[in-house]
Structures are given as structure tokens and as C-alpha cells.
């Protein structure tokens, strides 16, 4: 079961930037690209746990602020020569409003 949770609006996030959503299982980074695509991934670089939400956003990727790994926002996979993957979270945009789907939380609540 997908549990869609409202997290705010598109304009809360700067273009080519990110904001965090706090959850009991750690932070989720929600990104907005230059052309208003929105992606959510765990705020945790597969390399050494760097906060990806703090990185520079370019295209549909983010560069981790700690050691410059480049992570695809679509797949959560490290790009280039690095190997690693971070969890991606489904996002839905309804007009201005943003929702993320949290499976684990829903089952815990039930």
C-alpha cells in the first residue's frame, strides 16, 4: 500500500535546490530541478553518508557535498565510475502540492 503524504508545495523548494523532510527513519531529501521536476531520495550518500540535500543540483543529479559523488535523482544510483545506490521515494505533484509515498511508515502505522 502506498501512503501518500503531503509535504508542502513546489515553491517551498528553490529551483536547482533541495529541502529535507524529517521522518523517524532519517531525513529524506526532496529536490527541485531547473525545470521543476521533483525527486525524493534518502538524504544519505551511499559513499560515506553525506547529506545529499546540501549538494549542488545540476540536471537530474546532485553532487554530494562531502566527496563529490554524483547521484542520479531518478534512480538513486551513483553516476560515473563510483558504485552505490540510495533509496528513491515516489513523488507526486498535484498542481502546486507535493506528496511523497512512504511504504514502511504506512505499514508501521497499521
Amino acid at each position: 500500500m502506498m501512503n501518500w503524504i503531503a509535504i508542502g508545495t513546489l515553491s517551498d523548494i528553490p529551483r536547482r535546490g533541495a529541502r529535507c523532510v524529517a521522518t523517524p527513519e532519517g531525513k529524506i531529501a526532496v529536490f527541485r530541478t531547473a525545470d521543476d521536476q521533483v525527486y525524493a531520495i534518502d538524504d544519505h550518500c551511499p559513499h560515506k553518508g553525506g547529506p545529499l540535500s546540501q549538494g549542488i543540483v545540476h540536471g537530474a543529479a546532485v553532487t554530494c557535498p562531502l566527496h563529490n559523488w554524483v547521484i542520479s535523482l531518478e534512480t538513486g544510483k551513483a553516476l560515473g565510475a563510483d558504485e552505490g545506490v540510495v533509496r528513491t521515494i515516489p513523488v507526486r505533484i498535484d498542481g502546486e502540492r507535493l506528496f511523497i509515498a512512504l511504504e514502511a511508515l504506512a505499514s508501521r502505522a497499521a
Binding site: R16, H58, L105, A109
Partner: protein, 816 residues
């Protein structure tokens, strides 16, 4: 038996619906239309040409009075429907006419969005929606001089161009960084802004309108940053929203618009809605193509075809401003499973971008040359596999058919008199001739001998191809390391061209220098941001999202995602009250680690990002400002106690250190800059391994530079000896400015000096008084814009979104 069909609204959508209906079921309905506007159906898309004076109202009428008579349609002009009685199945107008219906079509369109700023209802504030608005604007244009258009979207720009054509002095205010950001990517937005500005229309982006003020009528517009723009006419064109109030009052389901199914039917089976007021599958529409599609569906349904259904399709956007060619279609977001093909022709002002997925076009942005828009739209619509023509796809339809063009063959096929370098007027024959006659083997040689590609550099690729064609393997490609994968240009070329071509924004650089990606990468964006801040201190507003995190939040990120904070201690001097304030902050925020740094500062480590503004607020109360320990800029000036205390001290080294630091803080540099001033040659401040150091001696001040004590260890070079403190400051500032203007991003002073040569730097700073003075003046000028304490800015609320999570979810459930 004829049924009664009543239509509320007489815009383009119901007009088109009637045309279809009269064709399919000419005798089925007796039609009555209520139009709030006192006129017939006209082409609203053509309002812009009416405003600019290119067309008259009569030319844009779709259905004249005769058409309604011929088809036996009753049209109530200037009648606004005020109530729908669904029980009795009647509608009533504001003039008291009540009309029964069997089927009702609501086509009330949309209403312009008005920003509720103070003064929005002053006389002189207009919207841009119908002919009345246009007439009011044309009237205003006759007598009044200055107009402000709020909104840099399609409508706003068309209004601005129209008013401009009517002879008004027009300023466009747009809240986003680039124009038409919904339809265009930043590169095309930049080109558009340039074209609009070339017509004499001023454009202010990131403009946040705060108030419209005036005595009884509009006199000026005030922005949040304090800018005041005089205006006698203000046009609000910030968007539209569906006009669904009437339907809502009648109890019909309304979300953003009137909710209809794919057959355009509302939740009342006898009531249809179409046009801008209708919401189908969660979408509302404003462009004409989908509205006409709705009209077709509604007409079929009314004619009894229950299978007719509305299907969403992307609609191209075009700007109707004469002389500006613009086309945008579909989805042009980036993604890993997508590829883009970008063509930039800086000289011709052309930008084309195709976004592909699985060898199919999914999005297109064309600027400057839109002839192939229809073809690309067709390929997209038909989902054509383009892999066969991929290499030449971007050049358009006329390049297709036959074998794909080999770019090398294309260059070889050029005649000898074909112009290669537009800037210097150099043709192919001259270049190949020089290569053969003079035995040239490198690009720089060709530039030196022919001037080809020596100005803007955009023909470099062509020149290189010519070299390969002429001398084959003997050609040595230039050994310039490109800035990053987004460009073939090196840092120096980019810096030179930023100045030479007066490029003042990141999209401008990317367009004019033909970047290969649409929005750069984490390597080039911070570099470009620095170059632009350095070269255009009073023009360029730094791009926040192109800063590295430390410079965005003014603290240093640590391995666990917490931050460290270093307040400025001028020259490394502190006091009891400062130390007390630091101690209080450490206690209050439970800061786990406090450490003295190598640059004579105090570092507080392990601060949570959310706490940063509060930490700064407390430190600010005690008089601290940011220590810029995170900056590519002046970090610290380390000092010894000098002649005030030390028995060996020759000059006031502490005082000079503080003076340098107070003079130079806040400036951005290619890489970090650390300085030191020692009061005697014993050098307790370790000035001889710094980026810039001063050793005080009896006869004055010995200035050192280009030291390193990090990845590399290197003693400083001596720049020279000066007599007074004032001279020392001037020389150090001039040296720093020279480095600021020439250094490559992330290149420390010692590496820059090695590249430029120590003698050349000495010559410019020590021997050439005029050059030195000029560097000094430029630094002083740029400091006017740079010396703003970022901590106090953040404490007062700037970028506060940066420090808070946007939401917290799931905690309540987890606690159960």
C-alpha cells in the same frame, strides 16, 4: 422536437463548439447565448496584435452578427448570468432575463489573477484579458509615458511589446530569474530577455512587487528590495484562474475548475463545461488547441455521440511578438534515461534543444529559428523513432533524407570563399592557405596568422576541422584542459570571453560560449558564479544555487553533516567579552567541540544546521561577524604582537593585520586566501608560507606572496619592500585584485603565480604604478558590494528556507 441549449459565455471555445454542432446536428437545438461582454465572438489570441496596432478589432471577429441571425441563435450581449436553477432548469441574467434549458453549457472562461499588493485597486492598474482591457491600455498609451507590466510570461511579454509599440516606456517585472520559465529553459529565457531588452523594454527579474502607490491614481511601483519604478499604467499579467464561481454557487462539483468527465459533462448530466473554466482529468487549460479539442468533444456529445472523449496532448507555446521566434513543446526536463541534443549558434542568436527518450522526441525548445517546430511536433506526436537521423535531427527537416551528413565531409565540401570566422571575416581558403604556406600545426598558430577564432572563439571547432583536413595527423589539438565536461573551453578562455562579450549571467555564458549541457554541473557552475561576481561586481547578482554548501550556509560542513562556525577575530585579537559570548553560545547550544585554529581563530564544531541562525544571532549580539572560514575569499590575517609589546618588534604588525583584514574581508577570490603579518624577521606569524605575508623591518614592510603550507609546501616569493603602511596595503590589495581577475577557480595564489610568472607580477604591481592603482581602485569598487555580513543577513531572515526541514512526517504513527 427541438431542445433548448443555453450557453453561458461567448468565447472561442463555445464558438467553435457551435460550429461543430451546427454541422453534426443542425436542427436539434434552439440555441441561446449569454455573453457578459457586449460583443460577438472574437479571436482573443489576436488581442496582442490589436494592442500593438498591427490589427483592428474588426479583423479579429470570428462570428459577426449576421452569423447568429443566419443560424437562428439568440445572443444576449452584455448579459451576465447571475444564477443557475438546476431544479427548474433555468438561468437568470443580471438584466432579469430568465431562460429555460434542456442542456446547459458553461463556458465562463477565466479571470486574471490579481496580486493583492497594496494599491492593486488604484485607477491605472489593469489586467490583460479582453478587448476592454486592450482599449483601456491603448487609451493610456496615448497620454501617458511610463508603464509597468507585472509578469514575464506569455501574456505579460505580449502586453509589454504592445505597449512598447504604442510608444510607452515599458518595464517588465518578473518574479522568477528567467522569463517564461514554465515554457522555456534558462538558456532560451536568457535569449528572450536579450531580445526583449533590445526593443527598449526594461526587464527586472527576481522582482518582488511590494506595493503600487500614488495619490488617487498609479504613480509608482515599489519592489521588496527597495527599488521604486515610476509608472502611470500598471498591467498585471501574472496568470489566470478558472472562472467557476457561478457553477460552484449552483452546487456543481468544482475543484480548480468545473470538474468534467472526458465527455465534458459535469456531475449534473444536463450541464457541460468547456474552455478555460473546465477541469478535465485534473488539468485545466489555457492554450487554444486543447480548448478547441474540448469544443469538438462537447459538440459530439450534444449531438448524441456518447463515445466522444477528450484526450490530453501537449500543445506548443509560441510568443506572438513580431520579430521574436520562440517555440516550446512538451517535457524538457532532464533525466538519466533521457538524452538531449543542443544546438547553439551564438552569432545568429539561435538555441535549439531536443529532449529524447528511447529514441523519441519528448520535448523541444526552439529559439531564434522555429521553422522546424511543426516537424518536431509531428515527430513527437507520432512517436517516430529518430535513431536513423539522430546526428542531423537538430538541423531540421531539410537536412533529412539521403545519407546522414558527415560533419567532416560537410566542412570539406565548403567552398574556399565560405566564411569561417564571422568576427574577423576569415574565409576557408585563407585559413587552409596559411596552414599550408606557413606550416602551421597548432590552433594558436592559426589564430596568430589568420585571426580566425581569435575573437569570440565560437568557430574554433570549424577551424580545428580545417586543420585536420589540411594536415591530418600533424595537427596537435590544443592542450587546453576544458573547465569541465560541459564545455571545450578552458578557464582562461571563459574568463576572457566573459569580459570580451560582456556576459553577465550564467545562462548568458552558457549560451554565448555554446555549453554542451543545459544547466552546467557542480564543477562549472561555482566557477562561473565566481567569475561573474568578480568581473561584474555591481551588475551580477550571485547565483545562490551555484554555490558550494559551505558558502551557501556560511559554515563548514563536517563528515556527519553538522557544521562548524568560526567568528571573525580581526588579526587574531579577542577580548574577555568576546570569549564570554562564545562560552555562552557553546553552553546554550551544547556545542561538542571548541578548538583554536591555525589561523588564530576559535572554531565551534558539531552545530546542527537548524541551529545555525540562532547561533549567529547570539554571536552577532556580541559584535561578531562571519569569519568566512568556509569562503573562497579572505579567511584570516594572522599577526604577532609587534612593536606594541614585543621587544624585537619593528612595526605595529597587529595593527596592520587588523587593517588589512577590515579592508579586504568579504571579497571573493578564486580560492581561499590566508595572510599573515610578522613584526620582525623572526616571523612568529609564519608569514613566509602564506598566500600573502608581510615581514616588518626597520625600514618598512617586506611583502611576500605565493607561499603554501598544505598539499604543497613552498616558501613565499618576495614581491618587494615598501616604506609605509599605506603603501603596504595598496600593494597587497592590488596583488590580490590581479589574482582575482586572472586566477582560475580553485587555483591558489602560488599556482597562479607559477603560471603567470613572478617577474610579470612584480612588474605589474611594483614597477607599474598606474596598473597598481587601477587594480586597487577596482578592488575598492567591488568591496562596496561585497562587504555585507552574511550572518546578520541570515539572522534577519534571508534564505530561511535553507535552515528548516520542509515537513516532518510519520512521527505520530511511530510513537503509537
Amino acid at each position: 422536437m427541438t431542445e433548448k441549449l443555453v450557453i453561458i459565455g461567448n468565447g472561442m471555445a463555445p464558438g467553435r463548439m457551435l460550429e461543430h454542432l451546427l454541422e453534426k446536428a443542425p436542427d436539434r437545438y434552439q440555441v441561446t447565448i449569454f455573453n457578459a461582454e457586449p460583443r460577438v465572438n472574437y479571436d482573443r489570441i489576436m488581442l496582442s496584435p490589436v494592442l500593438s496596432g498591427e490589427k483592428d478589432y474588426e479583423e479579429i471577429i470570428i462570428h459577426g452578427d449576421g452569423w447568429y441571425i443566419k443560424h437562428g441563435i439568440t445572443l444576449y450581449k452584455g448579459h451576465k448570468i447571475v444564477a443557475i436553477d438546476r431544479q427548474a432548469k433555468t438561468v437568470t441574467s443580471d438584466h432579469g432575463v430568465t431562460e429555460p434549458y434542456d442542456k446547459l453549457v458553461i463556458a465562463t472562461g477565466s479571470v486574471p489573477f490579481i496580486i493583492p499588493v497594496p494599491g492593486h485597486n488604484l485607477p491605472g492598474v489593469l489586467t490583460y484579458r479582453d478587448l476592454d482591457d486592450v482599449r483601456a491600455m491603448m487609451l493610456a498609451a496615448q497620454s501617458r509615458a511610463k508603464a509597468v507590466v507585472i509578469g514575464g510570461g506569455l501574456l505579460g511579454l505580449e502586453a509589454a511589446a504592445g505597449l512598447n509599440a504604442q510608444g510607452m516606456d515599458v518595464t517588465v517585472l518578473h518574479v522568477m530569474p528567467t522569463l517564461m520559465e514554465r515554457q522555456l529553459d534558462p538558456a532560451a529565457g536568457y535569449l528572450l530577455q536579450r531580445a526583449v531588452e533590445e526593443r527598449g523594454i526594461k526587464v527586472i527579474t527576481k522582482a518582488n512587487t511590494q506595493a503600487i502607490t500614488g495619490n488617487g491614481k498609479v504613480e509608482q511601483v515599489e519592489l521588496a528590495d527597495g527599488t521604486v519604478i515610476p509608472a502611470t499604467l500598471v498591467v498585471m499579467a501574472v496568470g489566470i484562474r478558472p472562472n467557476a464561481a457561478l457553477a460552484k454557487e449552483a452546487g456543481i462539483a468544482v475543484n480548480r475548475g468545473i470538474v468534467v468527465d472526458a465527455g465534458m459533462r459535469s456531475n449534473d448530466p444536463d450541464i457541460f463545461a468547456l474552455g478555460e473554466c473546465a477541469e478535465v482529468n485534473g488539468m485545466v487549460y489555457g492554450l487554444v488547441a486543447p480548448l478547441y479539442e474540448m469544443a469538438r468533444v462537447a459538440a459530439s456529445q450534444l449531438a448524441g455521440d456518447e463515445a466522444a472523449a477528450f484526450v490530453h496532448s501537449d500543445t506548443p507555446t509560441k510568443l506572438k511578438v513580431t520579430g521574436i521566434e520562440l517555440f516550446s513543446l512538451g517535457d524538457f526536463a532532464e533525466g538519466e534515461d533521457r538524452q538531449e541534443i543542443v544546438l547553439r549558434d551564438a552569432a545568429a542568436g539561435v538555441y535549439k534543444r531536443l529532449v529524447l527518450k528511447d529514441d523519441r522526441i519528448i520535448g523541444t525548445v526552439l529559439y531564434g529559428e522555429t521553422a522546424d517546430g511543426a516537424w518536431f511536433n509531428d515527430l513527437k506526436k507520432k512517436q517516430t523513432d529518430i535513431s536513423e537521423m539522430r546526428d542531423t535531427l537538430i538541423f531540421g527537416q531539410s537536412y533529412q533524407g539521403g545519407a546522414p551528413l558527415d560533419p567532416m565531409a560537410a566542412v570539406a565540401a565548403l567552398p574556399d570563399d565560405a566564411e569561417i570566422c564571422g568576427c574577423n571575416g576569415v574565409c576557408k581558403g585563407k585559413i587552409t592557405g596559411a596552414i599550408t604556406a606557413k606550416g602551421l600545426t597548432s590552433l594558436d598558430d592559426v589564430r596568430a596568422h589568420t585571426k580566425a577564432s581569435a575573437s569570440c572563439g565560437s568557430c574554433t571547432g570549424l577551424v580545428e576541422k580545417l586543420m585536420v583536413l589540411t594536415i591530418g595527423d600533424n595537427y596537435n589539438p590544443a592542450a587546453v584542459q576544458p573547465m569541465c565536461g560541459c564545455t571545450t573551453l578552458g578557464h582562461d578562455e571563459v574568463r576572457r570571453l566573459i569580459k570580451a562579450k560582456s556576459l553577465k549571467t550564467i545562462p548568458a555564458v552558457m549560451q554565448e560560449l555554446e555549453w554542451k549541457t543545459s544547466c552546467g554541473c557542480a564543477k562549472c557552475r561555482p566557477a562561473l558564479n565566481y567569475y561573474l561576481v568578480c568581473d561584474w561586481p555591481n551588475d551580477y547578482a550571485d547565483d545562490y544555487q551555484s554555490r558550494f554548501i559551505n558558502e551557501r550556509v556560511h559554515a563548514n560542513i563536517q563528515k556527519d553533516g553538522t557544521y562548524s562556525v568560526v567568528p571573525r577575530m580581526w588579526g587574531g585579537v579577542t577580548s574577555a567579552s568576546e570569549l564570554r559570548a562564545i562560552a555562552d553560545v557553546v553552553d546554550k547550544f551544547e556545542i561538542p567541540m571548541v578548538k583554536v585554529t591555525g589561523g588564530q581563530r576559535i572554531d565551534m564544531l558539531g552545530i546542527r544546521k537548524e541551529d545555525l541562525p540562532a547561533v549567529w544571532a547570539d554571536l552577532g549580539q556580541a559584535g561578531f561577524v562571519s569569519g568566512h572560514a568556509y569562503a573562497k575569499g579572505l579567511r584570516t590575517v594572522k599577526t604577532c604582537v609587534g612593536s606594541d609589546w614585543c621587544r624585537f618588534g619593528t612595526q605595529d604588525s597587529t595593527g596592520l593585520g587588523i587593517r588589512i583584514e577590515k579592508f579586504m574581508w568579504g571579497s571573493w577570490t578564486p580560492a581561499k586566501v590566508k595572510m599573515a603579518v610578522s613584526g620582525c624577521p623572526r616571523n612568529c606569524a609564519e608569514a613566509t608560507c602564506k598566500d600573502v605575508g608581510v615581514i616588518c623591518v626597520d625600514s618598512g614592510y617586506e611583502i611576500h606572496f605565493a607561499g603554501a603550507a598544505g598539499l604543497d609546501i613552498k616558501g613565499t616569493e618576495v614581491l618587494g619592500l615598501v616604506r609605509t603602511e599605506d603603501e603596504a596595503l595598496e600593494h597587497i590589495v592590488a596583488l590580490t585584485q590581479m589574482y582575482r581577475e586572472q586566477g582560475r577557480y580553485l587555483e591558489r595564489i602560488y599556482k597562479w603565480a607559477k603560471r603567470i610568472g613572478i617577474p610579470e607580477i612584480k612588474r605589474q604591481i611594483m614597477d607599474d604604478g598606474e596598473k597598481r592603482k587601477a587594480y586597487y581602485e577596482r578592488f575598492v569598487f567591488s568591496q562596496k558590494f561585497a562587504q555585507v555580513d552574511p550572518w546578520s543577513e541570515r539572522v534577519s531572515g534571508k534564505d530561511k528556507h535553507e535552515f528548516r526541514p520542509m515537513a516532518s512526517v510519520g512521527f505520530a504513527e511511530a510513537a503509537e
